[in-house]
């Protein structure tokens, strides 16, 4: 057991810090051109797709280096590593494993150069987030699939150029996890219609996407027909330590501490209130545990263990932290809580992130069933 980073890792951390010092302006000085310039610089460093193999245009970084990179970026309030979150998280890893040469040639360069924008089509109405239940039907017709049905909660579908689309190609497959295929589909394909879903804070991120006789060539299929489950799961398995759950929380904790330092409670400084202090200390402790959980999982993954349900622990912790942290902040704000501001916004917005990664109850089911071996309900 050794929490010291190697000299190489420490050197890499120093490099990242120096890069940030040289290139990242504070948030208030970032203009509209900033992100593009920033991503160009990241691209030069090969820090977009940093952990992907070099032969696919990635940076060939280790998982630890990737963690260091992400941690430093998060501390510095840098934007995401790349503009196409869905593409980098889902499409790239799946392409590397399952893509044909043509597919790689078509999509990889744009992914790494921040010129792509992908959305992912998983959830469907009345089905929820269980991929095994997906119903969107694709019927083979010559060299095309013909698709009818709809996807929902499709983030950024209204701005994406492509959709990483899961469809059911064989409804009679022996298991409901077979018979699923993945199609790399341009969003401007005729028959695709996007209906916006405005969220609780009035923003448009989600969409419902309708497919009416949409024709997609067979050559757009990623992986073998009926093997879409493996394609999706393989992408999921890319980095599953849950370490990324904690970095955002650390940033959030610092903001909460700042708020507490300047707040009053019962007419006295909030930091004199034993309950406020202990609540924040509890958050700090849980977030420290999340970070260490992530590092333990990362170690296991580096040593070759197949990641399974480990991320559920940190996802659950995050879901259990965000709402109480926001409740405490709103309490510190007093009547200000009825106004507008970052904390007020978060107190609604957190519900999206808490539900988004699979609700706390889903994480609890996963842990109880897959780790503890309890029966399904």
């Amino acid at each position: 057991m050794d929490f010291d980073f190697t000299e190489k890792e420490q050197a890499f951390r120093a490099e990242v810090k120096q890069f940030i010092a040289d290139n990242l302006p504070p948030p208030e000085q970032r203009d509209e051109n900033f992100e593009q310039q920033w991503h160009a610089k990241l691209g030069e460093k090969k820090w977009i797709g940093f952990s992907w193999p070099r032969e696919h245009g990635g940076g060939g970084g280790t998982l630890i280096e990737q963690f260091i990179l992400k941690e430093e970026m998060s501390k510095a309030m840098a934007p995401d590593l790349g503009s196409d979150f869905m593409g980098l998280t889902w499409v790239g890893p799946a392409l590397i494993r399952h893509g044909t040469e043509e597919q790689k040639k078509e999509f990889m360069p744009d992914l790494l150069n921040c010129r792509s924008s992908w959305c992912t089509g998983y959830s469907e109405p009345d089905v929820g987030s269980d991929l095994g239940s997906l119903k969107l039907r694709a019927v083979r017709d010559g060299d095309d699939y013909v698709i009818n049905g709809s996807k929902i909660w499709t983030t950024k579908a209204h701005v994406a150029k492509y959709i990483f689309l899961t469809v059911r190609t064989n409804p009679e497959a022996e298991s409901r996890y077979r018979g699923i295929s993945v199609l790399l589909t341009p969003m401007n394909t005729p028959g695709i219609e996007v209906r916006p879903i405005v969220n609780i804070v009035g923003l448009h991120h989600f969409n419902q996407v309708f497919f009416t006789d949409v024709r997609v060539p067979v050559s757009a299929r990623l992986g073998a027909e009926g093997e879409g489950w493996k394609v999706v799961m393989g992408a999921l398995a890319n980095e599953r330590s849950g370490i990324s759950e904690s970095t955002g929380m650390e940033r959030h904790l610092e903001k909460l501490k700042d708020l507490a330092r300047k707040s009053f409670k019962g007419g006295k400084p909030a930091l004199e209130d034993a309950e406020v202090r202990r609540k924040i200390a509890r958050f700090e402790t849980q977030i420290a545990a999340m970070r260490l959980n992530g590092l333990r999982n990362l170690t296991k993954q580096i040593k070759g263990a197949q990641p399974s349900s480990e991320t559920s622990v940190n996802k659950l912790l995050r879901g259990k932290l965000e709402i109480p942290m926001s409740d405490l902040a709103m309490g510190l704000l007093g009547n200000e809580a009825t106004g507008m501001g970052e904390w007020q916004h978060d107190s609604f917005n957190f519900h999206g992130t808490v539900i988004g990664g699979g609700s706390p109850n889903i994480q609890r089911n996963i842990i109880a069933e897959r780790v503890l071996g309890l029966p399904k309900d």
Partner: protein, 375 residues
């Protein structure tokens, strides 16, 4: 001892419920909330005709002469339907004038407030957002028989709609130096700005006074009433918000239970799972407790006034805590749809945050419960 509602009270509830369900269902609430005024003058007029505005005022001033137990019935229902109106603010302003005003002040203001031709509200809180009389910092300067007031009052409910403000101020450092002024909105030096907030069914604003004259007949009760008057009004406000919070929780429970019955997963309703049904059962328990605490607190106002502050502190503490968790659980149990603008759950969670904070959150009131309880 009879801890139940009378037949008249049950009839009142039926009447209120029918009116709100017919005249202001949630689509209508959305329309009103999206508008600049935040209430419907047309519905406001109807409330007056139904007697809700002067419900607890004496009949001689156009009121109905009922008590706060009856008012609680109305507020539970306005909470359940998120009815947007300055009803609570106007009632609180009228309560202040009725309780502390001179005969002339009551005669001048109460008939208009009961008939709805005037909208009133309390303006108690200064920059320091602490609901204790000691936090009232707005200090009057003396000028002959009159006082002159300058400064800002924040978190004034329905500020933009109000015609008349009951403004807390002080003339000196002592608790007895606290007074309340009746300040008409059109008086010279008075201005109001709306404060943006997420819950558009409840409007809040900032009242700015620039060298406003408080003549002797604008000084409520004609004298400096002292800290106790402010505490009493804060208590009334807390009780009103707690009563509405019952309804808010009932609305959330009904919306979410129905969703749990309708929404199927793997072929059966999600309400089958203990992970869903247990939080809903807890919500029901919370509602029962809120009702018990709020009804009792409302009764103490007439029945056992010395008990009222402790009873109200318990009611608002429990209500703040419960409405907050009902909002959170309501959204969580809905999943993604609860996080959308088009589904009504979002209206309720927004109100839940407002209800928790307004007139003191759970910590503020639990601190009082501890002190009242001899700790």
């Amino acid at each position: 001892m009879d801890f139940g509602f009378s037949e008249d009270q049950e009839m009142l509830r039926d009447q209120v419920r029918k009116f709100l369900d017919d005249q202001c269902p949630l689509p209508q609430v959305r329309t009103i909330a999206a508008g600049p005024q935040g209430y419907s003058p047309d519905l406001w007029k109807q409330l007056s005709e139904l007697g809700w505005l002067g419900l607890t005022l004496p009949e001689e001033y156009g009121g109905v002469g009922l008590d706060w137990v009856d008012l609680v019935i109305i507020l539970e229902e306005t909470g359940r339907t998120l009815f947007p109106s300055p009803l609570v603010s106007t009632t609180l302003a009228a309560t202040a004038i009725n309780a502390y005003g001179t005969a002339a002040q009551r005669q001048q203001w109460l008939p208009g407030l009961a008939s709805g031709s005037h909208i009133g509200t309390l303006a108690l809180l200064d920059e320091i957002d602490f609901l204790s009389p000691e936090a009232i910092r707005m200090t009057a300067t003396s000028s002959g028989d009159s006082y002159r007031l300058s400064g800002q009052k924040r978190f004034v409910q329905d500020a933009s709609a109000a015609d008349v403000f009951i403004v807390a101020f002080r003339s000196g450092a002592a608790d007895s130096d606290i007074g309340l002024a009746i300040v008409p909105a059109q008086q010279s030096g008075v201005s109001v700005e709306d404060t943006p907030g997420w819950d558009r069914t409840k409007r809040t604003g900032v009242l700015t006074l620039e060298d406003v004259e408080i003549s002797p007949d604008a000084l409520l009760g004609g004298t400096m009433l002292g800290a106790h008057a402010v505490e009493t009004l804060v208590d009334r406000g807390a009780l009103a918000v707690a009563a509405e919070a019952i309804g808010v929780c009932e609305g959330i429970l009904s919306l979410t239970s129905q969703y749990a019955l309708d929404r199927k997963q793997f072929g059966s309703p999600i309400g089958r799972y203990q992970g869903v049904k247990h939080p809903l059962a807890e919500m029901y328990v919370d509602i029962e407790c809120m009702k018990s605490l709020v009804y009792y607190a409302a009764w103490t106002l007439q029945g056992e006034p010395d008990e009222a502050p402790a009873a109200i502190a318990k009611a608002k503490a429990y209500a703040s805590e419960s409405v907050c968790s009902a909002g959170v659980n309501g959204v969580q149990l809905h999943g993604a749809i609860g996080y959308t603008d088009e589904y009504d759950m979002q209206l309720f969670i927004k109100r839940s945050k407002w209800s928790r904070a307004t007139y003191g959150d759970e910590d503020f009131h639990y601190d009082r419960v501890a002190t009242f309880g001899g700790l």
